[in-house]
């Protein structure tokens, strides 16, 4: 059966490149043609690097022909969120308020590592302004939509990455995650993503949002592909087993408290119960756990994140207030609402939460929660959503406060037919355990193999 290359995994592409079934140039050309057709709908690209991608693909093919093999990402197209510096073009952060002198046109460390591994950087991907403001939709900034239903949000803020993966416009992306920006679009677009342990992947050459919460991480179709990308950008080995993974001996902590609000999707509990049953079938021991100081931790996250966000933008914000979108500037301004002594007190709460979470991970190997309580909203619904209600539906921020590795994998459809995500969290530094458990889940489910009709109908 022929492979649909637009929906192929990194592993499938790698095998085809090495067996001469496919060249990197052929793949890049196919994806460029596909982007020409679909990106006006999906709105995934901020900037495309077609010419440099073609040259990089040609170099990758020539190297493989000469026996030079740089590893799993050799010749594989990768898109990057438009917060990461690349030598090809500007880093806009999807903002009209940016000073071009802030960000040199050079590669950040993650991009340098990707190129050294033979990856083909195909373009910069859309987000909301600096990862926190309003989405585009203007002439300058495309509006990213959800390929499962273009009237819906793809999740944020790595919106273009999630949307583009789901639309079959490339097999791998690099996102950033300060409060869930890798995991939320992964959940809402039916793809896979990992926020690594804080500090594992360098953030040099990445426009910050809130420095003590910022993570750079992989977005792809599967956890196995996320492992391949993480190995490159973290510069250390990460692998998952090719054979069916047994989880005998692992303890999975299941969290329900605070994660099933009244506003949750009607099918969320059933999807989550099904996912938990999969783990039980792998031989893992499943136990119920609670997260310490949950509501206070989210309050602490909010206060610290807003303060750090304002700290980075304050000088520019005073001078170019009206050039930021209203959503971004009004969020940044909230960083002025807590005092320095309160900031210090909140940091003590963060330390206390971290200690208790470390103790919890002495009892379990992985914690499982829904990634969000709901699937993707319609754009027309979003303006009317109460911020407190929305925050109560996103279960990602707690893990930015603590820095633990956290992944999202598809766990089936919501009542709307849109994808829902399963969040898997590990102890600090236990990224490989998270990848392993997510991979074991995907070995036993097929949700990650589903593609939206937009892509399949308008595809080849």
């Amino acid at each position: 059966m022929p492979i649909n290359w637009e929906f192929a995994t990194i592993g499938q592409i790698g095998g085809a490149l090495r067996s001469n079934e496919l060249t990197s140039v052929q793949l890049v050309e196919e994806l460029i043609e596909r982007a020409d057709r679909l990106d006006p709908v999906v709105g995934a690209f901020m900037t495309r690097f077609d010419d440099t991608a073609r040259r990089a693909a040609q170099q990758a093919d020539e190297e493989l022909a000469r026996g030079i093999d740089r590893g799993p990402l050799h010749g594989v197209p990768v898109g990057v969120k438009d917060l990461l510096w690349t030598v090809e073009g500007p880093t806009t952060g999807q903002s009209a308020a940016i000073d071009p002198a802030w960000f040199e046109h050079s590669d950040g460390e993650v991009i340098r590592r990707l190129r050294a591994a033979g990856a083909v950087i195909t373009g910069k991907l859309t987000l909301n302004e600096f990862g926190c403001g309003e989405y585009g939709g203007s002439e300058d900034f495309p509006l990213p939509t959800n390929p499962w239903d273009p009237s819906r949000w793809p999740g944020g803020s790595s919106a273009g990455a999630g949307a583009r993966l789901a639309a079959g416009l490339f097999p791998a992306a690099i996102g950033t995650d300060t409060g869930g920006s890798i995991r939320i679009p992964s959940a809402m677009c039916g793809t896979s993503g990992l926020k690594p342990t804080f500090g594992l992947v360098p953030v040099s050459g990445v426009v910050p949002m809130a420095a003590s919460f910022d993570h750079v991480g992989p977005m792809a179709r599967t956890m196995a592909d996320c492992a391949a990308i993480l190995a490159v950008i973290a510069d250390r080995p990460f692998t998952v087993a090719a054979e069916i993974e047994s989880l005998v001996g692992l303890r999975i902590g299941v969290v329900r408290e605070h994660h099933f609000p009244d506003t949750a999707d009607a099918d969320l509990a059933a999807r989550f119960d099904d996912a938990v049953a999969v783990f039980a079938a792998t031989g893992a021991e499943v136990v119920e756990v609670s997260l310490p100081h949950y509501r206070e931790a989210l309050g602490a996250f909010s206060i610290l994140e807003l303060g750090e966000l304002l700290d980075f933008h304050a000088r520019n914000l005073r001078q170019r207030w009206s050039e930021y979108t209203a959503g971004a500037r009004l969020l940044m301004a909230q960083g002025a609402f807590a005092s320095a002594s309160e900031y210090v007190r909140v940091q003590r709460v963060r330390d206390a939460v971290n200690s208790k979470i470390a103790a919890l991970f002495a009892q379990v190997d992985v914690i499982a929660t829904p990634t969000t309580a709901v699937a993707a909203y319609r754009f027309e619904e979003m303006a009317a959503i109460d911020p407190d209600m929305l925050l109560g539906q996103l279960f990602t921020q707690y893990w930015n406060l603590t820095g633990n590795p956290a992944a999202s994998v598809p766990m089936g459809p919501a009542s709307t037919g849109m994808p829902l995500g399963l969040q898997l969290i590990g102890a600090m530094g236990a990224d490989e355990t998270v990848l392993r458990v997510g991979h074991a889940f995907q070995q036993r489910t097929t949700w990650h193999d589903l593609h939206p009709a937009l892509s399949t109908e308008e595809g080849r």
């Binding site: 002025a336 309160e342 007190r345």
Partner: protein, 50 residues
């Protein structure tokens, strides 16, 4: 402490930070200000040793 923060509190906080928000934006930020202050109060009430 003012138990019911209002637009004057918001205006003062923004002025301290040098942020040139309009009066209509200050109105929009009152609810956010109350949310932040409520978070601060909840955290101050937390028994970290408990």
């Amino acid at each position: 402490m003012n138990d019911e923060p209002n637009r004057d509190d918001v205006r003062a906080a923004l002025a301290r930070a040098g942020l040139p928000a309009s009066e209509s934006e200050i109105d929009l930020l009152v609810a956010a200000y109350r949310r932040v202050r409520n978070n601060v109060r909840a955290i101050e009430a937390l028994d970290l040793d408990g």
